[in-house]
């Protein structure tokens, strides 16, 4: 591992100051960054340990919404009574993430800053990857693309985003609060991630020297009746092939409002806006009618050689998740 300086900060202001130094990176849970450093994916000159900023670990809720501090641990948020009852998709997504040990370490902010699990990006011996080395190409396109994106991929990159939490937050219209040297700003979760372009290595709209401070989720009927469904090759401790977060507002069996985001299929949590519109006033128990609403959002799907199954799997997952959310009413 490369040399680095290590320092601890106790306030957000000190963290922001420290981050303005060249090649500085924040470390909190460490569950992603240490692996990047071991693999040579990241080589920070300075590590800023922010675990001492107690304010950033708070989870608070009121009638208007939920605020999750960036340093809250996944396990603590998953067990939070208000999260479990008023935002169940968030609790379910967190409990489906990683392992109990990692959930005790990993933070909410760090979870959103995860990078793809594409095996070519993570390769111990470096192979072409535009995320790993800009301009080097994409080994996945000519290799095994089983886990790759079927929606939103580009000629630069076909990797998917791995976070379960981000999918639930996308469906529930969450906002990411960040702070940098020029002050705080907020970014809707659905636009927090960038689609791969000429700067594929830049995956989020977080600028250099900025830090996520909190996530806010508005309270709603849709959030209260939300559900996260994760499909993977093992029953536990595995990333999603396809996952879906849905929120529902149902009146007398008919859908008044639906909110849907997919994971495992795109470079970012993928909202199904056309489906959400088409689902209004559809009878939830009419499976054929529900399935038909998915047509437009999948019209532009671009499956590769080994991941064509994801299109059908995603459609079925949405239908099932909607049924599950409806049953939870």
């Amino acid at each position: 591992m490369q040399h680095f300086a290590y320092s601890r900060v106790a306030t957000l202001a000190d963290a922001i100051n420290a981050m303005q130094q060249p090649d500085a990176m924040v470390i909190a849970g460490g569950t992603e960054l240490l692996n990047w450093m071991k693999e040579g994916i990241a080589a920070p000159a300075r590590l800023i340990d922010v675990n001492g900023i107690a304010d950033l670990a708070q989870v608070t809720a009121d009638d208007r919404g939920l605020r999750i501090g960036a340093l809250a641990r996944l396990s603590d948020v998953a067990e939070h009574p208000v999260v479990r009852t008023a935002y169940p998709a968030i609790a379910q997504a967190l409990l489906a993430s990683a392992s109990p040990q990692i959930r005790n370490m990993a933070t909410i902010g760090g979870n959103l800053m995860q990078r793809t699990r594409c095996p070519y990006f993570r390769a111990e011996v470096e192979v072409p990857c535009n995320k790993r080395r800009p301009g080097s190409g994409c080994a996945a396109m000519s290799g095994n693309d089983r886990t790759a994106a079927v929606l939103g991929a580009t000629a630069q990159c076909i990797a998917t985003h791995p976070s379960d939490l981000a999918v639930a937050l996308a469906a529930l219209d969450a906002t990411v609060h960040v702070t940098g040297a020029s002050g705080p700003r907020s970014i809707p979760l659905v636009s927090f991630y960038r689609q791969p372009d000429g700067t594929t290595e830049r995956e989020t709209r977080l600028d250099a020297g900025e830090l996520i401070t909190a996530i806010e989720v508005p309270a709603s009927a849709v959030a209260r009746q939300s559900r996260y469904l994760k499909l993977r090759e093992r029953a536990s401790y595995e990333f999603a092939l396809v996952s879906v977060a849905v929120g529902l507002d149902v009146e007398e069996g008919r859908i008044r409002a639906a909110s849907i985001a997919l994971g495992g299929v795109a470079p970012k949590p993928w909202r199904l806006c056309a489906t959400e519109d088409a689902l209004q006033r559809v009878t939830l128990s009419d499976e054929a009618a529900v399935r038909k609403t998915l047509t437009a959002d999948f019209a532009d799907a671009t499956p590769g050689r080994h991941n064509g199954f994801k299109v059908e799997l995603a459609k079925r997952a949405v239908v099932r998740a909607l049924q599950m959310a409806g049953e939870g009413a």
Partner: protein, 170 residues
């Protein structure tokens, strides 16, 4: 199993990366010279001779290095030793009484929940926490909440039985 050296080849530490830290481990304050870049796992094993904590994947995938920090189960391979200063670390050595076994250890032996034994310290540390968290109330729940600990000998049925029995006696 990864065998890469934690610091410099030959086990030495380059002078500019040496740090003197104090770690609360198993109820004792231990002063240790380690490498700033060293994980807690490598520091436990290479600097403190606490080799009960095992190094499996070194990437947070196998659970062999599970220890408790401030009462919670975590992975020692994904923590820098310098980040553990000021916190309470408990390893497998710290849960084993001088004159016997922890009930979870005894249950693993009773239920034949190991073959090669390499994953066992991590399994035991995880199981102690799993029971304490109240997540060992059914076989399905034990399987889910022990899923962060892999056993390549595949003693899973026996591990589930051992955890279930230990939870019943807890």
């Amino acid at each position: 199993m990864r065998t890469s050296a934690p610091s410099q080849p030959g086990g030495g530490i380059a002078a500019d990366d040496t740090v003197a830290i104090s770690l609360h481990i198993n109820g004792e304050l231990r002063h240790v010279l380690t490498d700033r870049r060293a994980t807690l796992l490598d520091t436990l094993r290479e600097r403190l001779a606490l080799t009960g904590t095992k190094k499996g994947c070194d990437r947070g995938e196998c659970g062999a290095c599970t220890v408790h920090i401030d009462g919670r189960r975590v992975l020692a391979c994904l923590a820098l030793a310098v980040m553990a200063e000021g916190r309470e670390v408990i390893t497998i050595e710290g849960v084993t009484p001088a004159d016997g076994l922890h009930p979870v250890q005894a249950s693993f032996i009773e239920h034949d929940a190991l073959q090669c034994g390499y994953c066992t310290p991590g399994q035991v540390m995880s199981a102690i926490a799993c029971i304490r968290e109240g997540r060992a109330t059914s076989d399905d729940e034990i399987r889910e909440f022990m899923s962060g600990n892999l056993c390549r000998c595949s003693a899973y049925p026996q591990i589930v039985a051992a955890v279930r029995a230990a939870a019943a006696g807890a």
